[in-house]
Amino acid sequence: MKLRTAVPVALAAALVLAGCSPGSGGDAAGTGDGKSFEFWSFTGINQKASVDAYKAKHPDIEVKLTEVGTSVETAQSLTTALAGGKVPDLVLIQGDDLPKFVQQAQNFIDLRTLGADDIKGDYLDWVMSQSTAEGGEILGVPTDVGGMAVAYRTDLFAAAGLPTDREAVGALWPTWDAFIETGKTYKAATGKAFVDNAATSVFYQSVNQGPQKYYDDKGGVVYGSSPQVRTAFDQALKAVDAGITAGQSSFSNGWSAGMAQGQFATLAAPSWMLNAIRSNAPDTKGKWDIAVIPGKSGNWGGSYLAIPKRAKNPQAAWNYIKEMQSPQSQLEHFVDSGSLPTTPSVYQDPALAGHKDPFFSDAPTGTIYTSSLLGLKPFVIGPDSSTIGQEFLNAITNVEQGGGDPTKAWDEALKNIKTAIGK
């Protein structure tokens, strides 16, 4: 009896709901007050500093900043919001997550309609090209890039009899092979691990240094045949085989603890990693320094600001982008929080070129990171780039930490990628 009445009632409710769900959330674009706006960012990137600076200049504007979570969690929340929820007016998207959104360009405002053509020349073109859709729509403005370097512990290097001066240290490893050899020397002298892990510190860096990664210039997948990928993969396995890694996955509990306790002497440090080292191992201040990455150049990471199509205050959000991502503002943000500007016109500015970081033994971070970008050959990032990268990473981690067979790792990785992306 109960059930017999419940079912029609429930069905009716379901139909009513189904009837009103698609698209009738109905907030038409541009219906806000035009001055205030909502901004979704992720943690650890210190967008709050920019927002505070903006609010100080414009006291009449209300910026509602939400730090959703990690970059991946922010992208997931954005997906859910775009699929049928309340969208922010402005959102920060990490470079690896961007291609999935660029493929569905209809979800975002083409920033050319707001005047992006006037400012696009300020930014590195290969960075700009990643947020440009097939039809030429500009969907995002880059906030920072992740130039690469190696962070190392001067005290541990000295104890192992290695040089500690950053020029001399950089000269130890012109190539990844030389880096691994240095690791062996360190290991022989101290018996301790040289680098945190092979998967991110070797593979992820090395694979980001070639002109071609997982996609060719026409957007076809070439992860299995690209020599650059295979070389990077083999170098990582070589590092594992040499026994110079601590087997601590980036951002794990053991990694943070190991960093504070000197379990490893080096780690790959894209510019945004410096903040992670500072917060995970505050007691190691002054014991770190930064040297050039093997292979000299490369980029890992970087983020973009985009405005969803259904945003209520697109103009307010655009005003913010235009003001806070101008070359001068990016330079100020670099001085405050260390994010590397995407605007090459300020790379020679004394505020950047002369910047020294006391946590890292007064290393000239501005010069080190911008020079890692100048020799860079940009590659195509596709919609499945992050999935492909994760599967390669998994295969290496399995050999490194799970006792997997290194001779089968490459084939396993290719098989898993094919299962995951279907090609």
Partner: protein, 317 residues
């Protein structure tokens, strides 16, 4: 007999209804109005998403892009997907490792807590519930640290007695044991209290009579406690099975290097985590929904088995 019958037949008919028909209708509908909130909320948050999942499972559904009808393709793909069978195997393994020790431990503990001579019984009875009211995320983070390879307390203790450090998160069995331990820790207190409640319904004189007849503690446990608890044991098996098939938070938070797969070789990825990975990591809502449907079928099968078991037990009594 006949008189009563005839009297009943000759009794005056009931007085004609005096109220307006509208009010009578209202009275008849009132009970449904009282229960309506539950059913309306259930329809909105339970039934509709369920039906909608079946619908989405038939599509290649990008949450922010196109929805293309592809019929049963998601299901055929799922059945051929080694990752699906791996997740299903992990789910069953973790469920087994957590449920069997949990129920056995809870049964023993309930028996002890029910003992007539136990002091501070209320204190012990309440404290077993503490893990249950602790946040799953907090439990997971603490356990992950306790079981850490290089800096964990457990491996430190093992190191003191000369055992080599175990990397729990990287091996299949290790990660399953670790997750099962967390589930066990969280749920055994709750199960214990359920058992305890039914135990207290058993008259004490039954135990006393058995003791006078010379039955040992074990014999009492075996021949009185377990048989009288049978219905509640069945109940806990079913609830812990349904819960065990949907373990999500523990594996999600365990591996920081590959959170959505619970490690590089998906060694502890459960079905719910696989669903989440496909739906929200890969933007394949259709495929994720198909996995959800498979999970639904699995739970229904378990519920049916329970129904058969419990009717058989009722018939036996």
């Amino acid at each position: 007999m006949t008189t009563t019958l005839s009297r009943a037949r000759t009794a005056p008919p009931a007085p004609p209804p005096t109220g307006r028909p509208f009010r009578r209708l209202g009275e008849r509908l009132a009970p449904y109005a009282y229960i309506a909130p539950f059913f309306v909320i259930f329809a909105v948050f339970g039934l509709f998403p369920l039906l909608f999942t079946f619908y989405v499972a038939l599509f290649d559904w990008n949450p922010i892009g196109d929805h293309t009808f592809i019929g049963m393709d998601n299901f055929t793909r799922m059945l051929e997907d080694p990752r699906f069978w791996n997740a299903a195997g992990n789910t069953v393994s973790i469920w087994f490792l957590s449920t069997v020790p949990q129920l056995a431990l809870a049964l023993l503990l309930a028996h002890v807590l029910n003992h007539a001579r136990l002091r501070f019984a209320l204190f012990f009875r309440m404290s077993v519930l503490v893990p249950y009211i602790t946040s799953v995320a907090a439990t997971t983070i603490v356990f992950a640290q306790l079981f850490d390879r290089d800096y964990g307390l457990l491996n430190w203790l093992l190191g003191l007695v000369g055992v080599e450090a175990i990397d729990f998160t990287q091996s299949t069995w290790g990660s399953h044991v670790l997750i099962a331990t967390m589930v066990l820790w969280r749920w055994f207190g709750y199960t214990t209290l359920l058992y305890l409640a039914s135990l207290q319904a058993i008259p004490r004189d039954v135990f006393e009579a058995a003791a006078i007849d010379g039955a040992s503690g074990w014999k009492q446990f075996r021949h009185i406690t377990i048989p009288s608890l049978r219905p509640v044991i069945i109940f806990t098996v079913v609830t812990s099975t349904i819960g065990g098939l949907q373990i999500f938070t523990e594996p999600l938070l365990l591996s920081r290097s590959a959170p959505l797969t619970c490690g590089p070789i998906r060694q502890c990825q459960t079905l719910t985590l696989f669903l989440y990975e496909q739906g929200f990591g890969q933007f394949q809502f259709g495929y994720g929904s198909a996995i959800g449907v498979a999970l639904f079928v699995l739970v229904v099968v378990v519920a049916l088995i329970n129904y058969l078991l419990s009717t058989r037990i009722r018939a036996e009594r």
